[in-house]
């Protein structure tokens, strides 16, 4: 079962945005999921207004304080307010997650559509490359990229993009291939339209649903991956407030100040649940089986 198995039930509608919007409207899960995500985005933007502490302000005398009115979620081992850090903590994850997902899915979609349309040797070459990247354990690829390039926002974005693009190419190409033989594509070709214009006008709108599901799904994986990377010391640089980094910093103090570890985990998990719900809902609305496919 390769990408070709991916079934697109129901004829793809015309109009990219409208398709996506209709899908979201028709699914309660997608609505709830996106609402959760939107809430996280709002909190991340408004974080400085929500508490009276600065996220990096450390007071050694108040280290490892429990829950109190002054510190609703306690303090960490450097005496920083945990709640403040959790509220600010989404910023890095959200930005990296959004950038890397959009980059990976965007690039993967263009390449996938292109090779589906072009076929022939280009298709073969690209797919061999895609296959060989997928054949290398993703963790190895990630390790290599971050070890070679160092840490920081852009490196993490690049690393996740590199790891995700091949999977997207495979999925989108499969979806596009089922569109290519259809009449209107053939007709467009007969009219002598240029390849890019066919790709833009005929192919993209018809794989929009697949791409949207892909986007939501990859975003949820990327969120986990970003946090894992931060947790491993490859993502956000301290003292940046970041969920993954917070878990790494506070995990040893779990019995002493459990909130310092639990709060960022809960924040991360709800964010990922939101993205997963959105992906679920979209997939269900369009009859795309998000689990029965390959090529992560």
């Amino acid at each position: 079962m390769t990408g070709s198995e991916l079934t697109v039930a129901g004829t793809p509608a015309q109009g990219t945005l409208r398709t996506v919007w209709a899908g979201i409207r028709s699914s309660r899960a997608a609505t709830i999921g996106l609402a959760i995500v939107a809430l996280h985005v709002l909190v991340a933007i408004a974080a400085p207004l929500l508490t009276s502490y600065a996220p990096t302000q450390s007071v050694p005398a108040e280290a490892l304080a429990g829950v109190s009115w002054d510190h609703l979620a306690g303090t960490d081992q450097y005496g920083r307010d945990v709640l403040t850090r959790v509220l600010h903590g989404g910023r890095f994850a959200l930005v990296v997650c959004a950038l890397s997902t959009v980059a990976a899915v965007g690039l993967g979609t263009v390449v996938g559509c292109f090779v589906a349309l072009r076929g022939g040797w280009a298709d073969n070459v690209v797919m061999r490359l895609v296959d060989s990247v997928l054949a290398v354990p993703a963790i190895l690829a990630l390790l290599v990229v971050v070890t070679a390039l160092g840490t920081g926002t852009w490196v993490v974005v690049a690393a996740i993009t590199i790891v995700y693009v091949p999977g997207v190419v495979r999925v989108v190409r499969a979806a596009a291939q089922s569109v290519v033989p259809l009449e209107y594509v053939t007709a467009a070709r007969a009219r002598g339209e240029r390849r890019w214009s066919i790709l833009r006008r005929e192919l993209l709108p018809n794989v929009a649903d697949v791409v949207a599901v892909e986007l939501a799904m990859r975003a949820s994986w990327a969120a986990l991956l970003v946090s894992s990377l931060s947790f491993l010391g490859f993502g956000a640089n301290p003292p940046t407030p970041d969920w993954g980094l917070m878990v790494a910093e506070n995990r040893t103090a779990l019995t002493v100040v459990p909130m310092a570890t639990l709060a960022p985990i809960v924040a991360l998990a709800t964010f990922v649940v939101g993205l997963n719900l959105a992906a679920d809902g979209l997939a269900k609305a369009w009859g795309i089986d998000r689990f029965r496919r390959d090529g992560r």
Binding site: S58, P60, A63, L64, A65, G66, Q77, Y78, L143, V146, T147, G150, T151, G152, S228, F231, L232, G233, F234, A236, N237, P238, P239, V247, A248, E249, R251, T252, A253, L254, T255, V256, V257, T261
Partner: protein, 532 residues
């Protein structure tokens, strides 16, 4: 790297994943001591009567898959050395150089010719007596450039291989090429363990020494075992045997201790929070190695802006060592005041720059670096690096200095950041003899000179000290050198932190300081008799 090494830092292999993954398994150890942050940790390891026999289980970080039992090699498996071998000299609990295999020694007035008398009651594990010829062989190996021992850089400038001879079976004679009144202290290094004459080809797996334990089995980066040497010249060790397990991940090591799978974590400085968790558990506790960790912030003196001595001085005036000690080590340790010699060393001198951010700011302005902004590197290699970096960053802000913290990968921290980036957090084990410390880490051109500082005046002080055989005068010279480092060098030493060592509550008479570990007296408490 993952080793204690000449340089002193144990590494958590795989720490790159490691640091993360562990989520303090320990954290929940059945104890609900959610007390205040000041919950006291034990000041001292448990002393008392141990029962005779038993097996101690030690978890250690593997140096690498290429580890060897050859003490001279930079790839040596550190924990085994002290159990299997002896050196000519060692350092006692007061920091003095005292006899080990060399019973006594003597030097000529010009500090050029040393004579060591080797003990006559010592045998190797294979029964051969240990003689001056073995010592000659050992020292010549250390000088061999093809072996590239870490100690080679320390000893080779002082002597030629031909100058190291045995006058008879008991007498080792060393003719120096350059005067040195501190030579015996240089043989306390952990690469200087004495191996049998001609054993070079197989010492790495045979492990035949004169030490309190002899080798039973050894696997590089794996498990191994040593058993008591009944014929040991200082008397039989308390334990029957020691089993060594290599566990790369620091968190996994801690978990093994909490789950009672091992008794002692070697080369593992627990961060304060983990230490509390361990201490609160039923079967494990914490011992401190006082001032065991020498934390430094080297400013690379070959890179702008640290080429300017005024900038270096300004940074030293700007930061708050007390804040670093409080935040990074929760006050468990001593202030360093930028002096690399720890306060409990007999040669230590009390000399410090008074913190003065305003003067720092003025110095910077005069040097044309008003509002200096620098990158500073940290890593998950050691749990103290990041809090130390953050406390440093916060306190230098008072002088208008902006520090951008950069987190670097643990696995290449010492190959790509150390001695490459202008500002970073790092540490050494304390325990080098002062002469070796100053020459190895501060003399211009030394391979371990982490600030790349080269100052002829300073080097001349070291040369004078080495020539001086009067102990008091020599001490004064070493103290001058310390003052010179505080005032001029690129090295910042905010603190000497206590190493927090996790060990089972059953372990008694654990003693470790610098590179000395008491394998002879360490034992298990009376009540635990039945464990295999």
């Amino acid at each position: 790297m993952r080793r204690p090494a000449a340089t002193g830092a144990p590494i958590t292999r795989r720490s790159l994943l490691a640091t993360g993954i562990g989520l303090a398994a320990g954290a929940m150890t059945g104890c609900s001591t959610a007390g205040p942050a000041t919950t006291a940790l034990p000041e001292q390891a448990r002393a008392g009567s141990a029962r005779a026999g038993g097996e101690l289980r030690i978890a250690r970080p593997p140096a690498s898959n290429a580890e060897t039992l050859d003490p001279a090699s930079s790839l040596c498996a550190y924990e085994y050395l002290g159990a299997l071998y002896n050196r000519l000299t060692r350092i006692d609990r007061d920091g003095q150089v005292v006899p080990d295999l060399a019973a006594e020694w003597d030097v000529t007035e010009d500090a050029m010719r040393w004579t060591f008398r080797i003990r006559d009651d010592v045998s190797f594990h294979d029964g051969r007596p240990c003689t001056a010829h073995d010592a000659v062989y050992t020292i010549r190996r250390l000088l061999d450039p093809d072996l590239a021992s870490p100690q080679q850089g320390v000893l080779a400038p002082l002597m030629e291989p031909g100058g190291v001879t045995a006058a008879d079976d008991r007498t080792l004679v060393i003719e120096l090429a350059t005067p040195n009144a501190e030579l015996p202290s240089l043989f306390t290094g952990y690469n200087c363990y004495v191996v049998p004459d001609g054993s070079g080809d197989d010492i790495g797996v045979a492990g035949i020494g004169t030490g309190p334990f002899r080798l039973d089995s050894f696997t590089a980066a794996g498990r191994g075992r040593v058993v008591a040497n009944d014929a040991y010249w200082e008397g039989r060790p308390t334990l029957d045997s020691i089993a060594f397990f290599s566990i790369a991940d620091q968190q996994a090591r801690t978990n093994a201790l909490l789950a009672d799978q091992v008794d002692l974590l070697s080369q593992t400085n627990l961060d304060f929070v983990t230490a509390r968790v361990v201490n609160a558990s039923d079967n494990a506790t914490i011992a401190r190695v006082r001032n065991g960790q020498w934390y430094t912030i080297p400013m690379l003196t070959t890179v702008e802006p640290f080429t300017d001595p005024d900038v270096r001085r300004a940074v030293k005036l700007a930061y708050d060592p007390q804040r670093v000690l409080d935040v990074a080590a929760q006050g468990a340790g001593d202030l360093g005041h930028d002096n690399p010699v720890p306060p409990d060393n007999p040669l230590w001198v009390d000399h410090a720059l008074e913190r003065d951010p305003d003067q720092a700011r003025a110095l910077l302005r005069a040097a044309g670096y008003d509002g200096l902004t620098v990158d500073m590197y940290t890593s998950s290699y050691d749990p103290v690096f990041t809090p130390m970096t953050l406390a440093f960053k916060d306190s230098v802000a008072d002088a208008g200095i902006t520090v951008n913290v950069r987190n670097a990968s643990a696995d290449s921290y010492y190959s790509q950041v150390w001695m490459q980036q202008p500002l970073m957090a790092t540490y050494w084990y304390t325990g080098r003899p002062v002469d070796q410390l100053l020459n190895q880490i501060f003399r211009g051109g030394s391979s371990y000179n982490e600030t790349a500082w080269a100052d002829d005046t300073f080097d001349a002080i070291l040369d004078d000290a080495r020539r001086e055989i009067d102990d008091d005068k020599r001490r004064t010279l070493y103290q001058d050198a310390q003052r010179y480092i505080v005032d001029h060098s690129g090295s910042i030493t905010p603190m000497f932190a206590d190493r927090l060592v996790g060990l089972s509550r059953d372990v008694v008479n654990y003693y470790e300081h610098g590179f000395e570990f008491d394998y002879l007296n360490i034992g298990l408490a009376d009540h635990r008799g039945e464990r295999s």
